[in-house]
Symmetry: C2
Subunit: 203 residues, 2 copies
């Protein structure tokens, strides 16, 4: 792997990766085009060969974040196909884990830094896919008697809201410390989920 080529070869991806690193090491406020370029080892104007402007780069970073989240959830889904209760819990836990592992990615994805989503079709596509997968999960849990009946899209939205809210509050340190100290995170998540299922999900 030669080090000093004039042409990078895969700069676009390298920039997205650099962006994610900066994000999670230094926070959202530190994410600038110039820093990303510097980290990728190119001049500060090089990104313009690959992204129209800063917005476009953030869109790419955000999309990559959704792809990573989606991948993680897919992996969990494959490992727990036959047990709806486990599937539900492990999917939720994967969501929380992702946010803890890459908090700033999570915030960028869900904190509306990205303004006109319409202009970024990849982004729209991946988030639609994710929701469809969740609806499927809700259906299976209903079929197994774990969740109340009703339109699975609404169950999906409720589950997503619950887990997303829990994650967001956790990330923003809004959950009172006496509760966090009461039980390990995984157990806390299980208890939170148990409040909304018809029967307790397996320990």
């Amino acid at each position: 792997m030669p080090k000093k080529q004039y042409h990078h070869g895969d700069l676009k991806n390298a920039l997205v990766q650099a962006g994610i690193e900066i994000l999670n090491e230094e926070g959202i406020g530190a994410l600038s085009l110039r820093k990303v370029a510097g980290r990728a080892g190119v001049s500060h104007s090089a990104p313009y060969a690959h992204f129209k402007d800063k917005q476009a780069m953030i869109a790419a970073i955000s999309t990559e974040g959704f792809q990573q989240l989606y991948q993680r959830i897919n992996r969990v889904a494959e490992a727990n196909q036959d047990e709806p209760a486990r599937l539900l819990f492990e999917t939720a836990y994967a969501y929380v884990r992702f946010a803890l592992d890459a908090p700033a990615s999570f915030k960028v994805m869900f904190s509306g830094i990205l303004e006109q989503e319409k202009d970024h079709p990849d982004f729209v596509k991946i988030s639609k896919q994710s929701f469809e997968r969740l609806v499927e999960l809700a259906s299976r849990c209903q079929a197994a008697g774990l969740l109340h009946s009703g339109p699975p899209e609404l169950q999906a939205l409720s589950l997503w809201s619950l887990v997303h809210g829990f994650t967001a509050l956790l990330l923003e340190r809004q959950i009172p410390s006496y509760i966090l100290e009461g039980s390990p995170l995984k157990e806390l998540l299980r208890q939170v989920l148990n409040q909304v299922t018809r029967e307790a999900i397996a320990g």
Copy 2:
């Protein structure tokens, strides 16, 4: 009300109000000390007589946001003291309404722009109060058979997670449009809440 006094009289509050206005008219990115000062009609260095730095001003804005949210919820609580189901729903709806009315305030409050909460005791106090009120609400709903039994703190956390998540997803336009178009917002929230209660809450 004389207009041109050298001494403003209540500049600290005026700055917080100006900050909230800028936030909700122009977005988080537009919130700068200089703009806030300008909007309040003072020079750009005047704020330093009242706030140590930008962080301190954001803390004050955030705290004011929590106070406003808390007030709204109090008002709802007083109007629905005797009916736990209504109380639950109207409290949740007040939360959502607040976020829709002042989206950028909501984001500042919950998006971790504020870094060291420990340094801002007012802030810690108001958020503790809010959670206690929510635990109380959960208890009453359990007593009325609306919610599953169990530690009320955990029910409170679940409810908060659910409503906060719903609100955040709504604000960030993450909820698929076909779901939003399916029913009015208030109805959608009711359905989401119904997925987690033991029995449907009144229409």
